[in-house]
Symmetry: C2
Subunit: 144 residues, 2 copies
DNA sequence: TTGCGTGCAAAGGTTTTGCATGGCA
DNA sequence: TGCCATGCAAAACCTTTGCACGCAA
């Protein structure tokens, strides 16, 4: 069934490579396009959109929107399926994505399901906030 | 300081009224515009965008994007600040927003802060999933 | 050779900006 | 009266669609 995922083309490979290289943060279509352009591999935006759609269906990328942006953000996610078992923490300052695997999470989920009747979709859910690094940086910026 | 929020105009009031009437769900700019039009109160979309921006700054509305839509969704949020103290559960099926106040939440937040160094922004964070009502409906649709 | 992949151009939406006019205080 | 608010038109974006050509299998 997976053999039907399509041809191996250099465009597809270039897009996937870039996503994997940047798997710790999200990227936009225009960033992908700009990077490939500067790297000497021109790929039309249409193609980028089409590949991202397919990767999304295959569960190989996650899609968000971030405050202050109108364009969608994409981020590579490992295909091992483990991302449906933990929370994702997205730093609002630096954009970095953290995968939070911890028993408190599954505990909370089962609590919410059994007590509040709500089945959480961990794949889609992102907790926003500020990460450790950016918290320390903040403390240095109070002089504003 | 709050006196600088601007004039009281009928456009502003109409937008706010509509948001409050629909506080249990999210609305888009075009929905607001269509409703006001049908209600005999024409308000230009520019004005709607500008008011939503202000309300967002004041923390009186929340802004999301929902899968499969290209337009932003807005939802009124009470100004009493309590929404920074609980999780928000958004049902992916019916779009309803639930406010989850429960000690497990604050427990998880302090755990994540102390153990993982991440400070969660509850105002901005939405847990996606499927609510009780929609789960029961799903069970009736398995015949597809 | 076959059929998917690609990329340009154009269309379709949403959101923002400029500018002249209107209306609250 | 002084400013902010409003709304139209146009611009700026992001994303999708149509279509002819290219290329992997």
């Amino acid at each position: 069934m997976n053999s039907g995922s399509g041809y191996k083309t250099k465009q597809r490979q270039a897009i996937l490579d870039y996503l994997i290289q940047n798997k710790e943060k999200h990227v936009t279509v225009s960033k992908i396009s700009d990077y490939l352009e500067s790297d000497g591999n021109h790929v039309g935006v249409t193609t980028i959109y089409r590949h991202l759609d397919k990767l999304l269906e295959q569960g190989l990328v996650r899609k968000y929107t971030v405050d202050g942006t109108t364009s969608a953000c994409f981020q590579y996610t490992d295909p091992d399926g483990c991302c449906s078992e933990h929370f994702h923490l997205k730093c609002e300052k630096c954009g970095k994505l953290y995968h939070l695997s911890c028993e408190h999470v599954s505990e909370l989920c089962s609590h919410i399901y059994s007590e509040h009747g709500f089945r959480i979709n961990l794949c889609r859910t992102v907790l926003y906030g500020v990460c450790e690094n950016c918290i320390s940086e903040e403390k240095g910026e109070i002089s504003e």
